[in-house]
């Protein structure tokens, strides 16, 4: 029983980081009032650039370049939606489409349609004290990304709730005009949040190609970006909520896999398709129950115009 639990925990910790980073990226951008449906595309860009870069340089450096690639796509989103006030959903979807087709095009012209050549994976860390200890041992043998994913949400939370910059970020998503009357730049804050969101989504993608796999594979991230958005909504646009939701989704997935291998009888009663759809179903239910009292930032999706009221 303990072993089963340990396997479950290990599997969750291995799969969750990409989802957590991407969900945090969504939170950062959306708390500042810019809808970010382009997470999927930013992840794809991050995954591709990280893998390609890691062919020529140490993998951690490749991860950084992958983050920058995510931010690069986010910059296009920012340029369209902040500078030109275009519809944020449309511009986000455009990013997804461009990344999907562009990734396939670049992959086919540079390498082969299968994926990039194999790179050196991020090393896995063996934690000396707890390695091999029942249950706790599940914490060992992960890449650094897993540990980062366990710490980052708390740092993000602290910054968002306890620092002036965090207050400004939240304000710019709730009532940008109030921020403007204080003499702060609404556009500047939103740019910062969108680029930061791109960095995080890019990191989420880079994790997929450097820690989970050892190359960019043509389908990456296979809808994980949308699941991250669901986690963001499910976590009510808070860093800790998104972290919890993303971990919960990853755990649910690991549980489904674990059940299938250790208690196949259960799946006779619950169809696998239901379990696959569960994260989205939960998000829908939450949205339906919340009704009017949505916890989304008040100015989310509204382009800022100084003259409007």
């Amino acid at each position: 029983m303990l072993e089963l639990l340990e396997a479950l925990l290990f599997s969750t910790l291995d799969a969750a980081p990409a989802l957590i980073f991407a969900a945090l990226g969504g939170v950062l951008s959306e708390r500042a009032g810019v809808v970010n449906v382009g997470v999927e595309g930013q992840m794809r860009a991050g995954a591709f650039c990280a893998a390609v870069a890691a062919l020529f340089m140490p993998t951690p450096l490749g991860v950084v370049l992958g983050m920058l690639a995510g931010a690069g796509l986010a910059a296009i989103h920012g340029y369209l939606s902040i500078r030109w006030r275009s519809d944020q959903v449309v511009s986000g979807m455009a990013i997804n489409l461009v990344a999907l087709a562009g990734g396939t095009f670049l992959l086919e012209s540079l390498y082969s349609p299968n994926g990039t050549p194999a790179i050196e994976q991020l090393p896995r860390w063996t934690l000396p004290l707890i390695h091999g200890v029942p249950l706790l041992g599940a914490l060992s043998e992960h890449s650094g990304m897993t540990y980062l994913a366990l710490v980052l949400p708390f740092v993000f939370h602290a910054v968002l709730t306890h620092t002036p910059i965090g207050l400004r970020l939240r304000a710019v998503g709730e009532k940008p005009h109030a921020v403007a009357t204080l003499g702060l730049s609404v556009q500047g804050l939103r740019w910062g949040a969108v680029l930061g969101g791109g960095l995080l989504a890019g990191l989420g993608g880079a994790v997929l190609s450097t820690a989970v796999l050892d190359r960019f594979e043509q389908h990456t991230p296979a809808g994980l970006g949308f699941m991250a958005l669901a986690a963001m909504v499910f976590g009510r646009w808070t860093p800790l909520g998104a972290f919890g939701a993303a971990s919960f989704f990853a755990f649910g997935n690991a549980l489904r896999i674990g059940l299938a291998s250790s208690a196949p009888g259960i799946l006779e009663f619950i169809p696998q398709g239901f379990l696959l759809a569960l994260p989205y179903l939960l998000t829908l239910i939450l949205l339906a129950v919340q009704g009017q009292r949505s916890s989304a930032p008040a100015a989310l999706g509204t382009p800022y115009e100084q003259e409007s009221r």
Partner: protein
């Protein structure tokens, strides 16, 4: 406000333009290239027949099902190599290398035909029918739908275009009640995957040290269940102890490598040492997980599917269950060039060379003996003495006779 509106309209128009533009590169790039190349070079030769192929969302480069189809059409029938979005002639050596050992002595041998491939990848299931339509409009003499996912699309297009010829791989034409029927312009090819899976299952049972073997499937559909049933029966025949504890897990997709890896890691943690995967691109994740476990010092193996997947990870791929989609497509092309193409339902099993297993290149204790046993089982299936179960119900009634 109006300015915002206008700008978002501009963005929308740009987006729509972008969408439209994104679609064709895949179809037109390979389609136009050979035309441009072919025109000046061949004045007297008869016009090449155009063979259209629509592959499913698994895409080019799955090292598996779709790549097998592309090999049959591009490498074998057309003698071409796809590289960086265009075709180049394939050398004789390349063609020879792409032919697996079990087909090396095929009579008549595989030779290039006078055909021109038009390949379209599908980005989503909604694309299947428009893509097939597009190929027919571009004048393809035979249009191939690769995969059971394209069944309804091929059915619909074949009804709309009664003069065009179609080949549907991996499924019969099914009516609304899922009853098979036939159309006068469609040839279908299906495989007895259970027979090939039986042989690799038998091998897995002989190789396993821990007595725990596993199976990873993609979507839980009847075809993949056929793999599972055959595999289980094979394991039961050579290793009765491992059969009851055999774990079969489905990832629910064919395009999610990470999911495949997660499933395989879970199986490996539970002591499974041989995994057979039939999960499209998810299967590459399974191979990845086994590769990593081997690097960490575990004695574990993986069995590939559809194509010979040994090159993906030579150190851990024990063998691959071969499903000769390549041969089925090559035969259809040859029949077409010889004017012998006829509609109907073709079923390819072990006896017909439609399924089998790839050369076992890795060494393990008792290898020669194990292979002998597997070959003996092959003879018994070919002679009709051994009936391999094709569904889980049939497997329940299956009596293993070693």
């Amino acid at each position: 406000m109006t300015r915002t509106l206008r700008l978002s309209t501009v963005a929308l128009v740009a987006l729509l333009g972008a969408c439209k533009k994104e679609e064709p590169p895949t179809p037109t790039a390979p389609a136009q290239q050979p035309q441009a190349e072919a025109k000046p070079a061949e004045p007297p030769a008869p016009k090449a027949l155009k063979i259209g192929l629509v592959i499913d969302v698994g895409g080019r480069g799955d090292h598996s099902f779709n790549d097998a189809a592309l090999r049959g059409l591009e490498t074998w029938a057309a003698g071409k190599r796809y590289e960086g979005g265009k075709y180049a002639p394939a050398s004789a050596e390349e063609v020879k290398q792409s032919i697996t050992q079990d087909l090396a002595n095929l009579q008549p041998p595989i030779t290039a035909l006078n055909v021109e491939p038009l390949v379209i990848q599908s980005k989503s299931p909604e694309d299947y029918e428009p893509n097939l339509d597009l190929l027919v409009e571009q004048g393809s003499d035979l249009t191939i739908g690769n995969g059971f996912l394209l069944e309804s699309a091929v059915e619909a297009t074949a009804k709309k275009q009664p003069k065009a010829k179609f080949l549907l791989v991996d499924s019969l034409i099914l009516d609304a009640e899922n009853k098979p029927y036939s159309l006068p312009n469609v040839r279908t090819v299906t495989f007895k995957e259970n027979e090939g899976s039986f042989l690799v299952g038998a091998l897995a049972g002989l190789v396993s040290k821990t007595g725990k073997v596993g199976f990873v499937g993609g979507m839980e559909v009847p075809i993949i269940k056929r793999f599972e049933a055959g595999y289980r029966a094979g394991v039961k025949t050579t290793n009765a102890k491992a059969a009851p504890g055999l774990v079969a897990v489905y990832t629910g997709s064919f395009d999610n490598v990470a999911a495949g890896k997660q499933v395989a890691q879970d199986l490996l943690k539970k002591g499974v040492d041989v995994i057979f995967q039939a999960a499209g691109a998810d299967g590459l994740g399974v191979i990845q997980a086994v590769k990593e476990a081997r690097a960490a010092g575990k004695q574990v193996w993986v069995i590939g599917v559809d194509s010979d997947q040994s090159h993906v990870a030579p150190e851990v791929v024990l063998t691959s269950m071969l499903k000769h989609v390549d041969l089925a497509i090559y035969h259809a092309c040859r029949d077409l060039t010889e004017g012998k193409f006829a509609a109907g339902d073709v079923v390819l099993g072990l006896k017909e060379g439609g399924v089998g297993y790839a050369e076992v290149r890795l060494d393990f204790p008792g290898k020669a003996e194990a292979l002998q046993k597997v070959e003996a089982l092959r003879q018994r299936i070919n002679s009709g003495e051994l009936k391999v179960p094709g569904t889980m119900d049939e497997f329940a009634a299956f009596q293993a006779t070693p």
